[in-house]
Symmetry: D2
Subunit: 261 residues, 4 copies
């Protein structure tokens, strides 16, 4: 797969601005079980979400935390995406997993801790899949754009930039969402910019105002942690919203995104 001829611009998954619709990627932090994912996918599909996210390989700060289901989780993700007509998104954490990941998921996600994992970025430059590049939690906008150049240099410019909060002294939120990055990165690159309010704030009650703020700042989409049953998740339970909450957020989005048209 790595050596495939790059033909991204002809695929249905190619991302380039302007988007014709605001991208909404939603789903649980991790694939916990087949049933959980199927139920969540079914409901997301009903409220008009187009992209399902869930992690199978996790980057956990402690080696004793849950590390993910691996290939089994990828299979569940692919099945759920296929059954409910959702594109799938999952995190890639190692060069060794790229071929496997490419067999199962539509869009590969580079997490915040890997934004400067240059060997990984170089390898992702040689695949024919869109890559979501999350901003490193302590990286400047300049470094983030330079990281995207590692991917592009290999030939893959099917890149989506994702602002997910930066590390500051403020500890009420997990990180500080830097929405200024949205218009800045859009002015400096041709790539779409999406926002992850869930990881940025770490608090479910802030997802709604920060999603709306992201849209008003000109973001091209959002990635939101959402689950049919947030209280029974293996990670990130505190920042995950319900399907109903997501629905109420999405209802008001068109009024905001229209101001940019």
């Amino acid at each position: 797969m790595i050596s495939d001829k790059l033909t991204g611009q002809n695929t249905k998954h190619f991302f380039r601005r302007p988007f014709d619709r605001f991208l909404v990627i939603a789903g649980p932090c991790t694939v916990d079980s087949k049933d959980q994912l199927e139920e969540t996918a079914a409901k997301l599909s009903q409220i008009g979400v187009s992209h399902l996210r869930a992690g199978a390989f996790k980057m956990r700060t402690s080696p004793d935390s849950y590390q993910g289901l691996g290939e089994e989780g990828l299979q569940y993700l692919q099945d759920a995406g296929s059954r409910y007509n959702l594109e799938t998104v999952s995190e890639i954490i190692s060069v060794a997993d790229i071929d496997l990941m490419c067999q199962y998921v539509d869009i590969l996600l580079v997490g915040t801790r890997n934004m400067q994992n240059y060997p990984l970025l170089k390898a992702l430059g040689m695949i024919n899949k869109p890559v979501i590049l999350k901003r490193g939690m302590a990286n400047s906008i300049r470094e983030w754009i330079q990281a995207s150049e590692y991917i592009k240099k290999g030939g893959n410019d099917n890149i989506i930039m994702c602002e997910r909060g930066i590390r500051t002294f403020e500890d009420y939120t997990r990180n500080s969402l830097d929405l200024s990055a949205v218009p800045i990165v859009k002015s400096l690159t041709p790539y779409p910019v999406i926002v992850d309010p869930s990881h940025a704030t770490g608090r479910a009650e802030l997802v709604k105002p920060m999603t709306w703020a992201a849209a008003a700042a000109g973001a091209d989409g959002v990635m939101i942690e959402c689950d049919a049953d947030p209280l029974n998740m293996k990670c990130d339970s505190k920042q995950t919203i319900t399907i109903e909450e997501l629905q109420s957020i999405l209802e008001k989005l068109p009024s905001i995104t229209n101001i940019w048209r």
Copy 2:
């Protein structure tokens, strides 16, 4: 003035949520001259702005920078506000200036460097004027709210909280605008929360997206550096927008603020 009986809740200037309209405070960083301020005030009034801001006493990082016109500047501000029916806002930097300031301006502004100037906050707790309390550029939300308690403890709870960006490692913008603070402070205090996108970003081109984002995050208003002639200002020229730019920002605001009603 300091010893006046506090009757804030009966005055026309009392601020408490919910606002019936989104508060727009605009004007130059400093009063540079009578003519400049009059021209700007006239134009702001025409586009529907209700509050005029301009500094007469400045907190400049270097002692060699322009320090403001002092009382002469306050007089120009009062004249311009009176002529064009604009409420006036100006920064208070010293306990010694409180009586003077209260004679000339409608709302006193505590700048970011004075958020923890407790003797000043205590003195402002004893006046009968609204106080805008800007967040210290390196202060947590908790400390900011505690600072408001110094004012309230004196009897004055006519307080407006103003998020204006925090200091982080990111240097593309002057500071990092922390819009998460808006819903957080609104959930923890009864005070309105406004946002200053001009000082937060330090870049005129970011004022529009960040004003819209602030409104979408639920802010009750904004304070924007705006001048009839930004290129000829004595300070903050780079972050000041024109009257026309402000007008184009304000036109789209109702679509956003309506989502919160």
Copy 3:
């Protein structure tokens, strides 16, 4: 007192590098009582400390925290200094207190929250006493030096710069002590630079290694929170060391400071 002719360079208290000895300022955060301060002063004097610090006017983040004894505390400080032949240091928090402070203490201390209180700095530029200028916890070295210029501009260049930690994402310590600031400020100004390891770290067990590190970095002195009975203090108990601990720190200092001679 403010209008006194400035003759700092002729007074016994004038500070200019190089120092003939490493300056050790020690004492409790606040004057809690006459007895507490006398006991501490007596013991500090016995182990060779030359300067006694204690606060009478406090800058507390919450208005409900202990605010200090005021003039009564200054009197106790002066008495203890006089009885045990210790120079005295105390924090100035308001222009209105300058005359009073100058009657009681030898060296005025500007705390971290007032580093950019320019009206206060201007007023301190007109007195004939040494001023210790603490670095703002979120201020750059450049801003700190610019703040010193506000004092110097008034005619008082009897200034001691004090590094006391900066605000970062690290939360194991209260702040992050930036010892690089010591050689930098010494290269850019003529002023002595001292270090406050107590407020920087917020942890008594780190005072020893950080004091030694400060000396090795070329600091001209330290200011340390130390009390005869740390467990019964009204504030900062957790970061205050005992007289015995201070003695063990001081014993090893000459080996370090000698490397710079």
Copy 4:
């Protein structure tokens, strides 16, 4: 090599506190050429340095920066180490390079951008070589220690922790050296803690005071960028000191390290 039985505690390279001597690792940022490295190694050996560092695989923020000589560079490093009886240290940036690196170098270095590259850390847990784990430039002490647990969990507890500065708002230095981390990590782990003043400050003139400060804070060693000809290096020229400067630093070290015995 990865599957070797772990017998670290019997090898001559096993690191555990207390050290009998202060560890000095020195050398250029990268292997630029065979001649450069040989000359530097010869001189370092003469002044008593025991460990030679130089990079062959680089993590550069921009894909257009010099990326290192690869295996050729490792060969030069091994040759120089062997000829001048210096242990060798070089950075590992990818799981795919581990076997190769283990053939050439004595100690593997995990750089700041890989501190949370957990697949890499897990793989390093299965080798029989010491690993230097640099602190992530935006990682808390807690996260840094948790990262070390990924290595230890695999069976390799031959770990050296290296403080190298954290990212803050201060921009006079490249990063802010957090020397408080030295006593903290020594109290929380059994591992030696060394300090890299070169990358932390980014300024050659600060290497001396910060090396001395590190030793006074109780560090077990330092890693310093040093070259026979700093002006003609391909990277980090500005922060690299000369052999003569290093010698003058080392001469004074025993006076400092003795205070801890």
